[in-house]
Amino acid sequence: MMQTTVIRPVSARHRPTPLRRLPGMRATLWTLALLAAAANSDSRAETQPPPPVLPAETSDVAVLPPAGPHRLFVMGWTTGGANVVDGDSKDLSVLGLVPISEGGLLALSHDADRIFVAETFYSHGNRGTREDVLSIYDGRSLALLEEIPIPGRLQVVAKPHVFEVSEDGRLAYVYDMVPTSSVHVIDLQEAKVLPSVYLPGCALAFPYGPRGFGTICGDGTVGAVQVPESGATAKAVFSKPFFDANSDPLFESSVIDKSSGEAWFMTFTGKVFPAHLAAGAAPVIGKPWSVSEAAGLPPVGTGVQELAWRPGGGGRVLALHRATKRLFVLMHPGNYWTHKVAGTEVWVLDATRQALIRRIRLEAPARGIAVSQDASPLLYAMSDEGSEGELAVIDASTGEKLRKRKLPGGFAWVPGD
């Protein structure tokens, strides 16, 4: 459990000692003791040589092992950042904290070797001069590498697509509402702010390909923006209207495969619109299907006293396993307008066959979920009741509950998402 890799001694003035690295220090002592016991198994305890004096230690700083696909970053409003957890570890111990200012958000490079944080500071805590910053951390040392000033950002309860990074880690997209709806585009390699894309009536950024992103609009369309290599201001092209925000809006946590541009937009009633976003083309919206009907249940409407299984949650309600095109949907029984109620089940759907694969009953109602992107995917469910909040790790292929621990925070990120 202890991180023992030494990367930075407290002072270079300390003479190195053979025991500066102490991973097996206690183990060594035990080994010595056992050897002694074996050699003198008939001797009496008081004749054993005294245990050696414990050696002095030098303070050091842990580094994270390279991120695997099961690395998880979990954040709450008051956690001071995202706690890093390895979904495979038996006790799900916290491996570190990516510092995030209150209201800030995180994004990961594809393999999580770089961590990006969009955050806002006031010079005097909650007052004074405002600065909006994109902070870049090394994914293993969690050392702050760079702070790029950005034009602004929206402060909002954690949700997907408010701050995203392109698949290749080259461009960051920061959603803002002031002075009007816009997406700020930052070239992460050049540490340079590109022209912002104004998207009146639309919000969020669903990245695809090296320079594209989609956006959802209040008029029932989805827009697609290609950020020009030239540095010119990008223009959006829009789909035909296909949903009605007044009657059955799309979840903000609708999903896109950043690599292929395939997207699934899900409404409050669980209607799923397959879509495809590609460079230079208006988004193509496919024929919708229903989570409920995929599960063999009647269609679900918008009645405020129409009890049915519905999607809902506080952050990420919908998650995609890219390789298998499986959708994981956080579900609860409720009426319409319960779209933020914690979910009691996760429904696993095959987006290709538009069919339910499995319903997974959660032990603790979850505010949000996440799914790892490897061939042995893990499903994470966060209950977010402050310090009593629970993180559950579930085998996404079988639904088996693997591990859980108390951990605050209801929103999580995984690499390769």
Partner: protein, 188 residues
């Protein structure tokens, strides 16, 4: 069809302000309005209040949400107070403020989103401006005052109906302290 009167009415409000009617330009103006408007205008308010109507609207025959069925009108510092049908945050009444009052030293946001809540005492639906009080840390006085109700609450691409946004635009600081639920007019 869901009960979307809140959004339709919010739109009506905006329409009264905007000079153009295309959806796209209207929504553009929402973005601007969020910052520029000194709170939502008193238009429907004065209409509602200045001349008490002869008769209250007939009790709506449409079904009520669970929140509406359980709402109370006595204690504005509880999550089930009728005006909190779509609040997300800490009730300012638990923090030294009141239903339309910021705690001392907190900044009332000049912007807000608008919900529509049913008053069980008179059977009328009212427009409620969920104005955040800003410039201080999250109020932690009482964790039972942290509420999240979502009647007619909208995603972020309908910002005037979204309760996840920190509604502190136009104030001195975006730091979120607590939320109020000011009555700004009749919804129907």
């Amino acid at each position: 069809m869901p009960d979307s009167s809140g959004d339709r009415l919010t739109e009506r409000l905006l329409r009264a302000l905007a000079r153009r009617t295309s959806r796209r330009s209207l929504l553009t103006r929402i973005g601007v309005l969020l910052v520029a408007a000194p709170a939502f205008p008193l238009l429907p308010v004065s209409r509602g209040f200045a001349a008490p109507q002869a008769a209250p609207p007939a009790k709506s025959p449409k079904p009520m949400t669970d929140f509406e069925r359980n709402a109370q009108t006595k204690d504005p510092a509880r999550c089930d107070y009728w005006r909190h049908c779509a609040i997300d945050g800490v009730i300012c009444g638990c923090c030294g403020g009141g239903i339309h009052t910021c705690p001392p030293g907190a900044d009332p946001s000049p912007t807000s989103w608008i919900g529509t809540c049913l008053n069980p005492d008179d059977g009328r639906s009212y427009l409620i401006a969920y104005r955040d009080c800003c410039g201080k840390s999250l109020c932690t006085a009482d964790k039972s005052c942290m509420c999240d109700s979502t009647d007619r609450e909208m995603p972020i691409y309908r910002p005037s109906g979204d309760n996840d946004i920190i509604w502190c635009f136009g104030g001195s600081s975006m730091a979120y302290h607590c939320s109020t639920a000011a009555l700004v007019g009749l919804a129907n």
